[in-house]
Symmetry: C2
Subunit: 461 residues, 2 copies
């Protein structure tokens, strides 16, 4: 049995990068520019209806940096392109990440303009990692944020991640499982994700299972026979109410065997109306312990509507729309050079101005213990009363400590989310959480702006 073709052959992880990272690297290498650079990863603007972000993806970034390398095959491939010099290729063959990383720990909240990750390393090493770092933190933070909104909308009802079949690829499916668990989902349908991340897997049955039997009742009985202690019956293959009557019949047969049907699942139609009808039929049959799960086309907006309407749904299966963050499928996340060789730098591109210098974010609380305001400052500042949010997680190319467990990360999110005022959690048009710049950062920004304009623009005119 040969191994299947993988989306990311391990030895060539270095090649998961934009070509320009490599061409720039060669130009820097040949200029002898090896001084230390700091790159800052941040989101420029809020996507629609967002007022906070959940940090996620750092674990993969640290794994990537710990293992960054170019295999012989990768070097051979690059050589064959005919655009790289041999001295640079030899350098690249030996390159490893030797720098440091400061970051907002996974599970913590952050806001627009705040650096989620800062990478400080010899410029080529830090530059090469750009593509992978943005790709992973953008995705995972976006999914964790979407999931947090779902959890908020569900108001205590359980949620299972059912997104795997419609996420944008296999990597996104795994990351959705993990990110949504960080934000408070209870389980995932993806077995590989459950095994990789140590999460609870969840699953019911599909319409195909029901269709494969001569009758729906036969299908229900067969499933209950195989899983007497964990059966959830799918009601809508032919007709939800007729399906409920079949489920009641099987639940009664299970009772006769000393078992209990766990739940029934709605997967189409008007969930508010159907859940009330199904609840009534179950209750009238003495099956008040049987839970109702709803799935199909749900994300935070539908969840909020159903919960506010008081639909008697105990559990939600959330799939496609959450798994692709359908109302905000991308964020304007950037990884920008902010310091090179001890010189703070910035770009001035229209609509994309960056802030110079390595930074720290200080979070302050109000008298009630709730988050009051964040201040983005320079890394070496100390702001009394403000809690520094970025932590050093890698130094000299090595992690500074063991990874947090997924449960710890989940705990961090719960802690932070409970400390964020409810108004910022509104699903539609939330107000902006207050974030300001320190006086020193403001002054530095003005100074660097004047300097780069002086050198690069005014002189030309």
């Amino acid at each position: 049995m040969t191994a299947p073709k993988l989306p990311l052959p391990g030895e060539d992880l270095g090649l998961f990068t934009d070509l320009y990272e490599l061409t720039m690297a060669q130009a820097l290498f040949r200029q002898g520019m090896s001084a230390t650079a700091t790159f800052s990863l941040f989101i420029r603007t809020y996507p629609p209806n967002r007022a906070f972000f959940v940090s996620a993806g750092l674990e993969d970034v640290l794994d990537y940096l710990s293992n960054l390398n170019f295999s012989d095959q990768a070097i051979d491939y690059l050589r064959a392109l005919g655009i790289f010099s041999e001295d640079f290729l030899q350098y690249l063959r030996g390159v490893r990440f030797t720098g440091s990383v400061r970051a907002i720990p996974e599970g913590r909240l952050y806001f627009a303009d705040e650096p989620a990750v800062e990478v400080t390393a010899p410029i080529i090493e830090a530059q090469l990692a750009e593509t992978f770092i943005i790709n992973q933190v953008n995705l995972q933070s976006m999914l964790a944020t979407k999931a947090a909104r779902c959890v908020w909308a569900a108001q205590g009802r359980g949620i299972a991640d059912f997104a795997s079949r419609r996420t944008q690829g296999t990597d996104a499916a795994l990351k959705m499982a993990r990110a949504s668990y960080i934000a408070g989902f209870n389980s995932t349908s993806n077995v590989l994700a459950a095994s990789l991340y140590g999460m609870p897997p969840a699953g019911t049955m599909a319409h195909s299972f029901v269709s494969a039997f001569a009758t729906e009742l036969d299908a229900f009985r067969a499933y209950a026979e195989s899983f007497p202690d964990r059966t959830t019956l799918l009601l809508d293959t032919y007709d939800t109410i007729a399906g409920t009557r079949n489920a009641v019949r099987v639940a009664k047969e299970m009772e006769a065997d000393g078992r209990q049907l766990v739940a029934v699942r709605l997967d189409s139609g008007d969930f508010d109306e159907l859940s009330r009808q199904v609840r009534r039929i179950l209750d009238d049959s003495g099956l008040d312990y049987v839970k109702i799960l709803a799935s199909g086309g749900l994300d935070e907006y539908e969840l909020e509507t159903l919960v506010k309407a008081g639909a008697p749904i105990d559990l939600f299966g959330v799939g496609t729309k959450a798994g692709v963050s359908a109302d905000a499928p991308w964020s304007d996340m950037a990884y920008k050079l902010v310091c090179f060789d001890d010189r703070p730098v910035m770009k001035l591109s229209t609509g994309k101005v960056s802030l110079p210098g390595a930074k720290q974010v200080f979070r302050t609380k109000d008298a009630g213990g709730m988050f009051a305001k964040d201040i983005i400052a320079l890394q070496d500042e100390e702001l009394p009363g403000g809690l520094p949010v970025l932590e050093e997680v890698m130094k000299g190319g090595q992690r500074t400590g063991p990874s947090a467990t997924l449960e710890e990360v989940r705990g961090r999110f719960q802690e932070d989310f409970a400390t964020l005022d409810e108004r910022f959690k509104a699903l539609n048009n939330p107000p902006r959480y207050p974030v300001s710049l320190s006086g020193r950062l403001k002054r530095l920004t003005s100074k660097v702006r004047e300097e780069v304009l002086g050198v690069n623009v005014s002189d030309n005119d």
Copy 2:
């Protein structure tokens, strides 16, 4: 050097599945239900502004099916969950895909309701593959379709895929590179994708490169020195027009060395206005051979606007919005049981009714050789004048022939797209391409509907 942690550990590809595929498999296994099933993969409804889909993802499906297996570790993990029986786990350890696949070849166009892929195999084998098959074909077809719209809007101007940093994960980045190339993009920035798929990689420089130097002019000179034959200069780090003057200066220095600047890149601001100004400055300096590349926030809608306005842009770099199919980030793709043990089956769920039986799609052309209409029929029908679109690509678990090359797939797309009337390519509210059902399929659908309602619904009331 240990290998980096991979998103999809090769040996456990079988675990990339929803838990319910495995629980249903056990229930079927314990019932002794091993008869042949046919599952049909299709898109139920058109996403916004779509009137066609481009087939893509089949290569990965065939790879997956060829290698489907459960490793000892996977079985150990499943055993530890405590919900599977030992006889089923032993069966699963030996399971391989032994069935057949009929599909619309990659690169070909297809339409809503048409089966893109049909899998026929012992029911458990076909069922287990659901999650992966939908995940990959949904993603790749969606990205190829989005890319086709970009190529159409660009009206002959070249397009490079710059999406890797903001696709939803690493798998999506690789698949975007391949899918967009199928639809006519010229190159990708992703080096791993270029190496895996044998595509041309493309790249320029980032703002960080410019910022790392004391002046923009120094940065431009350093890059041109390293890549005298393939330099594209990024103009907007500080000010696009001032950047253009620096680019002109470097282009003249290159001319003195007998070299030519290839292109300049706009990455922010008003592309229509800036491209005209930059073109004028270049032309006035005798640099009419220097091309203008624009990137940043572009997808088919912006491309169409710029092209119709006559903006003098030669090449587009298309990223985030195309790479996540921002205006339609998911499609309603389903994988449904249509036949089991020679019995045609269907589901009747509200809004999600499926059509019974294994199928074929027949495509007809008009007198001018353009696609006129498709007819969805049963697999064993023959419709004179209609070209069958699905081909057998796997039989007895083996591919029926060698994979098409990426260039061949690209050729198929060009052929099909040229044969599709322009009105279906409109970016906004295109009309529906005519697709109908054969008389036999209609009659079978009515018959099966009555049967399943009779057995499962009427009897209950």
